[in-house]
Symmetry: C2
Subunit: 707 residues, 2 copies
């Protein structure tokens, strides 16, 4: 340990010696820290290779399993699959000692199409988050606390379950370094390792034992054995997202984007995030449950743009829409060859390494290298056309995608759509709660799944309804404490009228996306349940009412939502707020409100975030109160520093159950907040209701009086 490799002393007197981390590892640690927070939507990204130091955190919202896990699991004996996979290890052109299978599709999507669920196919484990690693004689699956029970059930004895985040459980690279003989070859499909940054991190980690990371481009080893039963890639029709909801036409969006490209000295942007493509092109799809997006890549150049998508999804309308915006169609699979060809032409691609898959980034950098060597050999000076950053010696611009930011700051039409669909959603919820209370009062036994189905029924009657925005979390009693809980028809509880019931759900409408959680009690809540609920509510109110200077990152506000819980030693292990798309993904970045303090993205006027503090008591109950809120300017009497002060506007209008509130804990201001909120709920939602739902709304929006 104390001997010194010769490269540790560098020919500069000021250079750091061991054990100061080398600049590159330092840089990589800086990079590693950020992407986790910049992409709150792709939770699985950090769960697959969980960071070691911070505690493993599970978001408070939806998780999901595939709709029909049986399909993925019954096609053959799981041990046969492992045997077939290992046989491919020694195939010519492969030659590996281990193969890694993360959960992701090629676009780092949170929800993915079934044909890309290779990890679920090979392992039998169908939870949304997990990484499978298969060596010649071992198979291990990493997942997080949300899925330990499910994984125990679903994995065969050939698999080692790695409880990520538990003390002493190695991360994937550590395990590989431990079980492989030095100098091993670790294979991945570079389109399906979660990102270029993550691949790079893995490469560095396993290099410590002289293992090599091998990109296997031509075949995905699981697809090779899945063959006959593998579902086809989805090819649902794309639709145009109406300008009245989008607010800005594609030409305007492209024009702003191109200004940014020029300014960054880049000649083209490669986009793989499906919601970014949908937003930029005012298109929507239905390839993936819950997310109104289509599988595609996009390359925007200064003077043209190419959409890489399966032709059969493109209707004449969409074709016309694309044509008028000057967008060319290319086959989905042509993305890598296009990247290669752009590099050969000297394009300076803007690549977001945290979201683009390793295949794209590596294809580009390898092509650049070849290009550069060629220039060196022919001794030509790199030429610069001085116009839009093209140069015959290409080099990437590695920055966060500019679309992520533009998409997060909603324009007036997007906000209008979000406000409108939230009222219809609130009407559906009022109908639902009125129905549910009635049924429970009548003594009807309702399962958690029946309840979720009924909610879907009410929602689907609302105009513009398209889909749920994630799998409904409908949890009675102890199930409410399982943050990821998704009831299954054959294995769920009856809603117990004497226990807390947590319902977290959302919908995709043509004009917007909703995400709401309410916790209720149908009988007599205990004093402790009321105290916990009230403290969660106080945190919710504190965040809702926060006023803060512009340029404040979201994490600064996170403690406001926790402080009332902290006072009595309570806390919750998830962030307080995530971004929400406008008729797009229910989880989006770059902003967040979290106790993970690395995301420095300031909250900006027009951003939408959730406000969802909670408290969970294992095996007993779960509480969460979630509204969506929009960042707005606040008209303060003074503006110290000559800057704007910001606050929030609520867009969710569903009553908060008064029965669960311990009024003695609330301040006069908090009671006023609640009464104001309920009076707004009544005013905005009652016009959409009649009958028992209207009556329910009236009952549940009565003002409370301070004790």
């Amino acid at each position: 340990m104390h001997s010194l490799p010769s490269q540790a002393i560098r020919p500069f007197s000021h250079s750091p010696s061991l054990p100061l981390p080398s600049p590159s590892s330092h840089a990589s640690r800086c990079l590693r820290f950020l992407p986790i927070f910049l992409k709150p939507k792709s939770r699985s990204e950090f769960l697959a290779f969980p960071p070691k130091s911070p505690p493993l955190i599970v978001r408070g919202c939806s998780s999901f399993s595939v709709k029909s896990p049986s399909e993925l699991r019954t096609s053959s004996n799981p041990d046969d699959k492992l045997r077939s996979l290992r046989q491919l290890f020694s195939k010519p052109g492969v030659g590996i000692d281990a193969y890694i299978l993360p959960s992701q599709d090629a676009h780092q999507s949170e929800f993915i199409a079934e044909c890309y669920m290779r990890r679920a196919y090979i392992s039998g484990f169908t939870g949304s988050a997990g990484t499978a690693v298969v060596t010649k004689d071992k198979a291990a699956l990493w997942t997080d606390g949300r899925y330990f029970l499910q994984a125990e059930k679903q994995l065969s004895s050939s698999w080692i379950l790695m409880r990520a985040g538990n003390f002493g459980v190695p991360i994937t690279s550590e395990w590989l370094n431990d079980v492989l003989a030095p100098g091993g070859r670790v294979g991945i499909d570079p389109q399906f390792l979660f990102s270029a940054d993550a691949a790079e991190e893995l490469r560095e980690a396993i290099a410590k034992k002289n293992h090599e990371l091998v990109f296997i481009y031509d075949i995905n080893l699981v697809d090779e054995i899945w063959k006959e039963s593998r579902p086809k890639p989805p090819n649902n029709l794309i639709r145009v997202h109406d300008l009245k909801y989008a607010g800005l036409d594609v030409a305007s969006k492209l024009s702003s984007l191109r200004s940014e490209l020029v300014q960054a000295g880049s000649s083209a942007l490669v986009v793989s995030m499906l919601d970014e493509i949908a937003w930029l092109l005012n298109l929507r799809g239905s390839d993936i449950p819950h997310s109104p997006v289509m599988y595609a890549y996009l390359i925007v150049e200064i003077d043209k743009a190419k959409l890489f998508v399966d032709n059969s999804k493109v209707t004449p309308d969409v074709m016309e829409h694309l044509k008028s915006a000057g967008i060319e169609l290319k086959p989905y699979d042509a993305i890598l060859s296009e990247v290669k060809s752009l590099a050969a032409q000297g394009a300076r691609l803007w690549l977001d390494r945290s979201s683009l898959n390793a295949a794209i980034v590596n294809t580009y950098t390898a092509a650049c290298e070849r290009q550069y060597k060629h220039i060196e050999k022919t001794n030509k000076t790199p030429k610069n056309d001085g116009l839009n950053g093209w140069s015959s010696a290409p080099a990437g611009v590695y920055k966060a995608s500019p679309i992520s930011w533009a998409k997060a700051i909603k324009n007036a039409a997007e906000l209008e759509g979000m406000r409108n669909c939230h009222l219809r959603d609130a009407a559906a919820l009022a109908q639902f709660w009125a129905w549910m209370e009635e049924e429970i009062d009548k003594g009807v036994k309702l399962t958690e799944v029946e309840v979720a189905d009924k909610l879907l029924e009410f929602r689907s009657r609302q105009s513009g309804f398209m889909d749920t925005s994630f799998d409904t979390i409908s949890g009675s009693g102890a199930n409410g404490a399982i943050i990821h809980y998704k009831p299954e028809p054959d294995n769920c509880s009856i809603v117990d009228r004497n226990k807390l019931f947590l319902l977290d759900s959302g919908a995709q409408y043509v004009d917007g996306t909703t995400d709401i959680t309410r916790t209720v009690h149908f009988g007599e809540p205990k004093a402790w349940e009321k105290e916990c609920f009230t403290r969660v509510l106080q945190g919710h109110i504190a965040l809702d009412q926060a006023v803060f200077p512009e340029n404040t990152p979201g994490f600064v506000l996170d403690a406001f939502a926790r402080s009332y819980l902290w006072k009595i030693g309570l806390d919750y292990r998830h962030g307080t707020g995530h971004g929400v798309g406008a008729a797009l993904n229910v989880h989006e970045g770059p902003q967040s409100i979290s106790f993970r303090y690395g995301n420095m993205t300031p909250l900006q006027k027009g951003m939408i975030v959730s406000n969802e503090p909670g408290y969970y008591e294992d095996h007993t109950f779960g509480i969460r109160i979630e509204n969506l809120i929009v960042v707005k300017e606040v008209n303060t009497p003074i503006r110290f520093g000559g800057i704007d002060y910001l606050g929030f506007e609520k867009i969710t209008f569903v009553p908060i159950q008064a029965k669960l509130i311990d009024l003695s804990l609330l301040s006069a201001e908090e009671i006023t907040w609640l009464n104001d909120y309920h009076s707004q709920v009544w005013e905005k939602v009652s016009p959409l209701l009649d009958g028992s739902a209207l009556q329910w709304l009236q009952n549940n929006t009565q003002p409370l009086v301070m004790q």
Copy 2:
């Protein structure tokens, strides 16, 4: 801008190309971010080379000027000094085009002895924070907003005043890159550039224009011209800090420290921070105003320790004390030769690059390099004795000093001393306020300086009083809005009974250190003044009452102290809390409570921080309310996550003026807090008082009743 330097493409397909920052610059930016927060005590550290992106922030507490600025300024014409300095630029062995003079001594002290005030001597500007840069034909001085007026007055027309933090004002390196012809040589005295990290950053920054950073070891160019009139280095006697106040003997402290050395694979720690040396050795000095420390360096090896200090300061008592702890004496000036000799012996030195001066770090790395080359030449394999990390091929361990952390977490005796001295300090303050109110009521005209002097008089009557802990900030009306304000006898205001009066002061006692701010009004405060005061108070209470999980960094709590101000668009441009030493420096790290979010140091049980929100209205008034608080465990009913929940214990007991509170803004809990506090003040401090001071205390601790 778009052409591509050849080194931008590196021979690895995954390596980032331009304009992704190179790993080393990325690492350096990560490093740059941290030291600012890790050393809140040395504010001048970040003011000299202010970071560009975050706004320049001025702490809320003391600043200082030299006691007799005239001495530094009148010795000769300022332009003569510049001329003499420039003549030295071309001296053999120098050969430079620019010379940089920061404010620091060789130990990054906040307060420094007069003989090290070289920047003040050469420029005539005597403020505590500033950097002078002299080229062959220009001279520029950077200082921050606290000192713009003073610098304008004090600088001759030969100097350009650089208003650091103002829009468009370059930082030092940018200015050098602008005014020097490419390939310039920029000289510094490496013992007096603020730290090894800072030197490295400067080197990188000016390398962009091919300038070279030149370390001039043998002479300090200012000393050369200051010669005749330069004050002698202080050589006041050192005293032993009684074990009853220190709590731990030197042997125990050394033993813990040596365990840490072994664990880190290091064979010796080099310490230059004066408070760290004083703390570790249970010694106190008086070389520097306000800080009970002595100029010295310390090297702790596994089996011995050497103190580098002027012999004449060492009394027989201290000699005995050091001897019994196995500490050898060496001359102060022998530090560099000792470092060189340790490197030659193969010692692995633990060096805190953020606090050690560049001379020490560079002496070591250069010696290591020589050593390594020698080994290579003689083809000997580096040997490792396997015992305590010594190796014949030395390499540094570059980490934050372990003493900083140990010192910050106070032991029981240190806490006891802090609590005790705060009561005596409170008694002095009660006497002072009683006197001041009486005088003002009698219509006596008191200047801000007379008031500060009277406070010193009351304090100096308390047992164990040694010194003020910083220059008293005594500001009436508009002067209270100048965060750095230090009244000067010939140029200060009469305290106006119709305006707010802000008094921030502290003392060094034999058993502890105090730092307290109160804002009062002697007449009838305006409604707006009361609203602002009340909101500052609400923030103060919110932080005081905060409960939070262990491992929470201080910045998480910062927003609690601001939220009531934010609601109406107010804020303050300084942190909320800094660490305080126990009978040591009034500002210490590593913890802080600040809106600068880079300091991840968790607040730990036993740490002391200030709680000092404020609000400042330019040209009108300033408000600050400051107590010191100790991090303590809170006995919460639940401990979610099985961890400790922490809170604060107040140790400052001086009434908060009720007249300034708008009771209608306070909640019942806040009024209870205030009444509880005042009842504790009465209980703890009244036994130390009699006469009018006792009466004053009684009047000012009466319970308030909610309106």
